[in-house]
């Protein structure tokens, strides 16, 4: 009897997770964009809107000849190689910094999504160092260096059974209308992707997380992905959330899985 119940429960859990299987979500989304943009390979979306607009792409490529994030990478490298007071350092946590492809991950012990930024502060805490502010410069520089050290690695994250609800929460966030203007992330970056909002081409969901942190000309500095989330939120009249809030980490988790297998190409420059 117990075995039969266990079997039934197993079956139900199996059915439940089948509807929330990240890999089939990712494949369906890739097909969506392949059909929408037959001439654009999925991997090309790592360049965001520049994959969808030839004209702006050329201007952008010219800009990348003298990448505006170059000094940030250099400064980040210095920070990365500076030891903590107890003599240990970031290398003890992240080797040579080429670790971004495995982030974010679901921490089974903490039962939460751990992004690279969170891991940087965990690393510091383990050596008794104060945490860095998530909206500060140092964390952006460090992650810029680590993104650079991780270039061309393919995104390779996992969603274990216990991480499914975090993944689902991020997915729900992406597909829900928000703000006074009533847009969901998906409506702008799927339904309207490739179209122009005034003069700006809207990027596709796939590839949205591969190139962070980004030097944004609008910001005149390098900034993290969660800063862009705040900006997107505010553009539709929704209140932005705190950087590294649980909701934003879940959203990053979902979006990163949607880019699973794509090469990292951060940091990058954007208008």
């Amino acid at each position: 009897m117990i075995r039969r119940v266990a079997c039934l429960v197993g079956l139900l859990v199996g059915l439940g997770s089948a509807s929330a299987d990240p890999e089939s979500d990712r494949q369906a989304l890739a097909r969506y964009f392949e059909q929408r943009f037959p001439d654009v390979e999925v991997v090309a979306h790592i360049d965001g809107a520049y994959a969808l607009n030839e004209q702006t792409r050329e201007q952008w490529l010219a800009m990348e000849d003298f990448p505006p994030y170059e000094f940030s990478v250099d400064d980040g490298e210095v920070l990365f190689n500076t030891s903590f007071e107890d003599g240990s350092g970031y290398q003890d946590c992240f080797d040579d910094g080429n670790v971004k492809a495995r982030f974010p991950y679901f921490d089974l012990e903490k039962q939460t999504v751990v992004t690279l930024e969170l891991a940087i502060n965990d690393c510091r805490a383990a050596s008794g160092e104060e945490p860095l502010a998530y909206n500060g410069e140092d964390i952006a520089l460090l992650s810029a260096y680590m993104a650079f050290a991780s270039r061309d690695s393919l995104i390779d994250i996992e969603v274990p059974g216990e991480g499914l609800s975090a993944y689902e929460a991020g997915k729900q966030y992406y597909y829900s209308r928000r703000g006074q203007l009533n847009f969901s992330c998906s409506q702008c970056h799927m339904l309207m992707s490739g179209m122009k909002l005034r003069a700006e081409t809207l990027s596709a969901t796939i590839g949205q997380v591969t190139h962070w942190p980004v030097y944004r000309f609008k910001w005149q500095e390098i900034g993290p992905l969660h800063r862009r989330f705040v900006e997107c939120n505010e553009q539709v009249g929704a209140e932005g959330l705190d950087y590294q809030s649980e909701t934003y980490r879940n959203l990053e988790y979902f979006l990163t899985y949607m880019s699973q297998g794509l090469p990292l190409n951060g940091p990058a420059s954007r208008k």
């Binding site: 006074q180 203007l181 009533n182 847009f183 409506q187 702008c188 339904l191 309207m192 179209m195 122009k196 909002l197 005034r198 003069a199 009249g237």
Partner: protein, 110 residues
């Protein structure tokens, strides 16, 4: 008689000016990024840098013979099509009722 004629002409001119000022106010709302921001998504004749997301705003009288239908489309487009990306300008209080009336005058003139 002449006095009457002058008066009539003045009256007509006044009414016309009043109507066109409403159209002008509506145009300003359509262009304002914090108000209608219609051009972000809709093409409008004569405007620069308009979006390509939604149908062009042309021959509106032909497309909406009944002004009330156009007004309710602006007020809450999701009532007709729940998945539309057009913001519900009235239902979400993005514009006041007066602003929607002015916007309607302008769009109806296109």
């Amino acid at each position: 008689m002449i006095r009457y004629l002058v008066f009539s002409i003045l009256l007509v001119a006044c009414l016309h000016a009043l109507a066109s000022s409403t159209v002008e106010q509506g145009k300003a709302i359509a262009e304002n990024r914090n108000k209608g921001n219609c051009l972000s998504c809709h093409f409008v004749q004569g405007a620069e840098m308009t979006g390509t997301i939604a149908p062009p705003l042309i021959s509106m009288k032909l497309r909406y013979p009944n002004a009330a239908n156009l007004r309710s489309q602006i007020w809450d487009a999701t009532a007709q099509n729940p998945e539309t990306v057009m913001p519900p300008y009235g239902r979400h209080l993005i514009l006041t009722e007066e602003e929607i009336d002015q916007l309607l005058e302008y769009i109806y003139s296109l």
